[in-house]
Amino acid sequence: MSDFPRWKYALVAIVLVVGIIYALPNVFMPVPAVQVTANRNGVVDQALEQKVIAALKQQNVAYSNIEIAKDHVLASFANGDVQKSASDAIKAALGDDYTVAFNLKSTVPSWLTSIGARSMPLGLDLQGGVHFLMEVDQNDVIDKQETRYADDIRSMLREKNIRYDSVARNSVRGQGVSIILRSAEDRTAAGNAIAQEYPDLATQDGASTGDRYVLNALLRPNKIRELSLNAVRQNLGTLRNRINALGVSEPIIQQQGDSRIIVELAGVQDTAEAKKLIGAVATLEYRGGYGQPQQAIEAARTGNIPPDARLYKGRQGEPYLLSKKVIVTGDELADAASGVDQQSGRPKVDVTLSAAGAKKMLDYTSANVGKPMGVVYVERVFETKLVDGKEVRTPKITEEVISYATVQGVFGKNFQTTGLASTKEASELALLLKGGSLAAPIDIVEERVIGPSLGQDNISKGLNAVLIGLGLVLLAAAIYYKLFGLVADVALFFNLVLLVAVMSAVGVTLTMPGIAGIVLTLGMAIDANVLICERVREELRNGSSPHASIRAGYDKAWATILDANVTHLIAALALTTMGSGPIKGFGVTLLIGILTSMFTSVTVTHAITAAIHHGRKLKTLSV
């Protein structure tokens, strides 16, 4: 006879249990930890763990736990201060072979994580960290492209036997390449050739005086836009790789608009260190090998380096002699992927070059089969120091040979590098090749540091606001609507649990505006119950029986609740989709909150109300 079918009771019970389980991880607060990751030369093993322990013992730093994970050692500590001194101690003991970074260690029990339950990651404002807003240098993108087109056009004209006086970049940036030819016919031929070979260029006749016929080749605007978007995208990838190497937990690396990138590193306090890493400009160079291996060792020993060669060091510090002339640089590299060679079964890296790069590579390899070629990784880091109160940026350049192999045959666009020690090395090299170079320099236009103490403060204030807001509404509802109010209270509490569960499962980063959204949702979630209770009261006043009043109350209120919430949902959806930063965090919370509150305040309260009043003869209702 019940108004409320049995399957709905089951649904409510299941949802509540699942909700509680998935909300549970948030109870376990993560502890401060230091993560040690191996650089190229380092190995993560028991010995490293012992070294870390020894370093901590020596400096009298108490640790609560040390464990070896897949590719890092994680040591956890009681609080942030200990974490800081621990990091210093470990850094001093391990040197350059390892990256030592701040991290947080989750204390969520493994049975919870194994079913995918996790706690909400905390935003920067709640746990402290650094925030950078970076801008990709658009000018550099245009400069590079124009220079490249000037080179390409020059070699194309030579190839097609079109005589020219000069091909040079226009002195004004963005004005393209100006080509000076000797006759009007040559100019037409050059114009046609360019239009055919480079559809991204628009040609235009310039002034002609005597025997100077000027032809201008301009980058089309949509090409410029595409280039800078590509630059941003490539830089995003590069930054992601570098930050992953830092070992920061939950980094946020986002594109904003056409030319900006936001990087947020929670838990990191040292901006100088972070900047050094993300601001580094790295590139690759393919250079011809020079002479015999013994010659390199000899040169390293004596310091006598042949005039057209340069001495480099490899990853293990071994010497190499490479030609001074660069064959191809990293920004002519289109793609790189690691894999296994079908024939030999050994690890390899497949490289794809851009059209211009392919041509240069083809030219070089056709002339140099059987000779060695080296890949040099070049990193330029700007170190900012204050000298006499003024900021001085000094570049520090690191060059390292990451691959040195014999050219096996003639190749151009696609080729593979073999002779790598392991698949791990192959995938690292691919990553370096692909992500190692920034497509364009990045300027840091904004930088903010949020202290961890402020984060702690925010968390406790936010938590208090949630609890006290919830408490006051629970109290008010119970007083005003008596039993029905108490039922609504239970539902409201479960709404909070479900909201937290969904946010955690979806992986919403909790921020202060997010907390404000939770508080607001709690206040508004009660609205559906107010609607229902007021309806039940009205029905009672109109003389309906208690059971009929409950039924009518829910039935009639439902349409209103639906209309009101759908309109509200539309607003929340807009907030979520348009927003970035605080607006998005807030919008997502609101969106989820509206959905969960519709379930709890209608279905859950109905289930409880039905269970309480079911099969009882009622004279009146406590509402």
């Binding site: 540091v449 505006p513 907390i515 508080v519 989709t577």
Partner: protein, 318 residues
């Protein structure tokens, strides 16, 4: 327990000339305020300058803020940099920090901030300073416009389909009223307008539309139930019967926002205050403004009857 008389029969529509007149007046006043004095945009919108300051002795954030306020930099954002001896300061550049050309001069920034801090503490030294660009880029601004259009069209469309054209118009008109008034009061209070406040203003739209729809829903219900429906009577009865719900919900939501204001800390102050203003404005306009607009638009019983019954031709078909 009941606070409100369930038999209340206040003639809200009777005072419609006065209430609408007041609403229009307040809206105009808000527009004038926003246009002349303008919103006090925060750093999120304007960008500004930032400096890192080191002290040799531990320093309290409040003291730094006070020292800056004394020198005329009230809205500075002061945060501790991990320890107790370093703080970061972000603020809008003042006239004294600009070149003749109106551009920020970083050396002058150091001078001005340095002087202000030295007045209270001699051990302060400026470590670095930089220009901060605004967080809200042009893209974000255009996204905002798109989102606002999306909200207006989406809500309007929904109400048009579920109710009737006039309800959509009335809801959107009151919506504009609520947002303008909320912004006007923010200007009057000289509240800083930052991203969280913007989020709050957008949330006000959600709250207030929710509030209006409940009244509209009752209007539709009463029109359909009543045999002979005089629009004024139906509207009045709808407002009266939903009055206790309108106010109780506002109270409950208001309670949580007050808790947020008093306990949540300075980060969410702007949010809570804006929401509180929005709740009051939205509640009042649900009661006094939305229904008179409906009346003027000429809402009637005929428009609200379910579509199927209106077409006997269709009903007769098998």
């Amino acid at each position: 327990m009941e606070i409100f008389n369930h038999n209340s029969n206040i003639n809200f529509l009777g005072m419609r000339k006065f209430s609408i007149g007041l609403a229009v007046l307040l809206m105009l006043a808000s527009i004038v305020l926003i246009a002349t004095r303008g919103l006090d945009y925060g750093l999120d919108f304007t960008g500004g300058v930032s400096a890192e300051v080191a002290y040799t002795q531990p320093v309290a954030i409040g003291d730094v803020r006070e020292a800056l306020a004394k020198a005329g930099m009230e809205h500075a954002v002061v945060q501790s940099l991990g320890g107790t001896r370093e703080v970061s300061i972000r603020l809008q550049p003042t006239q004294a920090m600009m070149d003749d050309g109106g551009k920020v001069n970083l050396d002058k920034v150091s001078d001005v901030i340095g002087k202000a801090l030295h007045a209270s503490r001699a051990d302060a030294s400026i470590k670095s300073r930089s220009s901060v660009s605004s967080q809200v880029g042009d893209e974000l601004r255009s996204d905002g416009v798109i989102a606002a259009i999306f909200v207006i069209v989406g809500i309007g469309l929904y109400l048009w389909i579920r109710f009737e054209r006039r309800f959509a118009i009335a809801a959107l008109a009151t919506e504009v009223h609520d947002v303008l008034l909320t912004l006007g009061i923010l200007v009057l209070m000289k509240r800083e307008f930052d991203l969280t406040v913007l989020a709050s203003v957008l949330a006000v739209i959600g709250y207030s539309i929710n509030d209006k729809v409940v009244v509209f829903d009752r209007i539709r219900e009463l029109f359909r139930l009543a045999r002979k429906a005089e629009p004024v009577d139906v509207l009045n009865r709808s407002i009266n019967t939903t009055l206790s719900r309108t106010i109780i919900t506002s109270l409950f939501t208001g309670i949580t926002m007050a808790a947020l204001y008093f306990i949540g800390g300075p980060v969410v102050h702007g949010f809570a205050v804006t929401m509180l203003i929005g709740i009051v404005v939205g509640t009042l306009s649900s009661i006094f403004v939305a229904s008179p607009i409906l009346l003027w638009l000429g809402v009637s019983k005929k428009d609200l009857m379910p579509q199927t019954k209106e077409n006997p031709e269709l009903a007769r078909r098998p």
